[in-house]
């Protein structure tokens, strides 16, 4: 059986379907979900639906192992978040946790089995310098960056360069906005920050509608589609959990206010295509009233929707590769003014060509030496 994005979502949404797979098919599923970081999520939905025990031993071994790792990571995130909150409270600053860390702190449905590589926080722009200085006095440092990268973060992006804990190597991305201000589409940040809610850990997260709106912006305005399969699964579980009319009203209001309505309708289209649950009437009405331009329809059909595919060789067809390239170009296009964009691509392609000739590892300082067991 050849797996598609659609069939993988079917399995994640109705894990009982896994009972019909052969072990060879499971092998492919495990390779693909390992790549797209959804193995442990499948463990939890299969447990929830009571079919995990009946999966083949081969499958159980891999799902169980992935779940142990995810559980430990969730524990680490809770610990790091509390430590980070306490540190910033010393200088009177409130951090709002975003994305993966926020899901874990809130213990929302999608947090079970979810792994993330860093912790994202949001602080007021006026607090940013004080926060950064205080963190750097307390064992958080940033890696030395090339001048180009430093400029990229500070001037064009919406965050300071990643902060790394000296002893624990935890990485925190501290944002002062949810989207690069240079795009001219920056969200009304005050509105986002003022929507915050306190979790039992004492750490703040965004309220449900704002959380989902941020997840939508983060996914659909991003040039990198490598984690889109997982990102859309997040959104599916979040809207299932938050479901109320009030939630949908707020979400639609946010979409109107923040100038990200195309990302919002893209998400609704993606849900219609990949989810097994119907959208509520209010969302369908919104979608019907939205006037798609020809270009928007084209990028949705040729780029965005097919690009929600795991980046695994077992999945990547020529059409999907092209879709991912279109999404990559669009993501840069909408983020940066034209002259900046040209410079950015010039840099990126120089590195890409150099790496193709000499081998990428030759210049990559981050990879470890062979462990030489």
């Amino acid at each position: 059986m050849k797996f598609t994005t659609k069939t993988l979502y079917e399995l994640l949404l109705a894990p009982k379907l896994g009972l019909t797979l052969s072990t060879k098919e499971w092998q492919s599923v495990i390779f693909i979900l390992r790549e797209t970081k959804l193995l442990a999520s499948l463990y939890h939905v299969a447990k929830r639906d009571g079919c995990y025990q009946d999966y083949p031993d081969f499958t159980k071994r891999h799902l169980y192992s992935a779940q142990v790792y995810a559980k430990r990571q969730a524990q680490q995130i809770c610990f790091e978040a509390v430590e980070f909150r306490l540190l910033l409270e010393q200088v009177g600053i409130t951090a709002v946790f975003l994305k993966g860390a926020a899901y874990t702190l809130r213990k929302s449905l999608n947090s079970y089995g979810r792994v993330c590589s860093d912790i994202d926080v949001l602080v007021n722009k006026k607090d940013l310098n004080i926060a950064e200085a205080h963190l750097k006095k307390n064992r958080w440092q940033s890696e030395e960056l090339s001048d180009y990268d430093e400029k990229y973060y500070r001037e064009w992006a919406h965050e300071v360069p990643p902060l790394i804990h000296v002893n624990r190597a935890t990485v925190v991305d501290m944002h002062h906005n949810l989207y690069p201000p240079i795009s001219g589409r920056a969200t009304n940040i005050n509105q986002f920050i003022s929507s915050r809610q306190k979790t039992p850990s004492g750490c703040f997260v965004l309220d449900p509608a704002t959380t989902v709106m941020h997840s939508i912006i983060h996914m659909f305005a991003n040039e990198d589609s490598s984690s889109w399969m997982r990102d859309l699964f997040d959104i599916m579980l979040l809207i299932e959990e938050f479901a109320s009319d009030e939630f949908w009203r707020s979400l639609i209001e946010l979409s109107n206010k923040t100038d990200f309505d195309f990302e919002f309708v893209s998400c609704l289209k993606a849900l219609q295509l990949y989810s097994d649950k119907p959208l509520p009437d209010v969302a369908n009405t919104y979608l019907e009233n939205y006037k798609f331009s020809k270009g928007e329809l084209w990028i949705l059909r040729e780029g965005i929707l097919p690009a929600i595919c795991p980046e695994h060789d077992l999945m990547l067809t020529a059409k999907i590769k092209r879709a991912k390239m279109l999404v990559y170009l669009r993501g840069h296009w909408i983020k940066m003014p034209f002259n900046v964009l040209i410079k950015h691509f010039a840099f990126k392609s120089f590195f890409a060509i150099r790496d193709q000739i000499m081998g990428k590892h030759h210049f990559d300082p981050k990879l470890p030496e062979n462990p030489n067991w």
Binding site: R72, Q75, Q76, F79
Partner: protein, 85 residues
């Protein structure tokens, strides 16, 4: 006597050969080892940690003086291995 609590999911064992105590912290997930410098003279009867730990427990398990037990407790509190109630 003051009782110190361990965060949820923590573990604490007094090793059978009286060589010391190993603590797993459910907060930081770190393991802390405390050495018993005089393994001949201590008792390995360790209290039930769900009831909390007292200074006397540490003195018995690790053959500590009153002062060094106080210092150790301060250190464990600052490292958040022990929580004060």
């Amino acid at each position: 006597m003051q009782r110190y609590r361990l965060p949820p999911e923590s573990r604490m064992i007094c090793l059978g050969d009286n060589s010391g105590v190993a603590i797993y912290s459910g907060y930081s997930s770190n393991t802390t080892f405390l050495i018993n410098k005089n393994p001949q003279s201590s008792s390995s009867n360790f209290p039930d940690i769900s009831q909390g730990i007292t200074k006397l427990d540490l003195i018995n398990c690790l053959s500590l003086t009153e002062d060094s037990a106080d210092n150790l407790i301060q250190r464990l509190i600052s490292e958040k291995v022990f929580w004060t109630e």
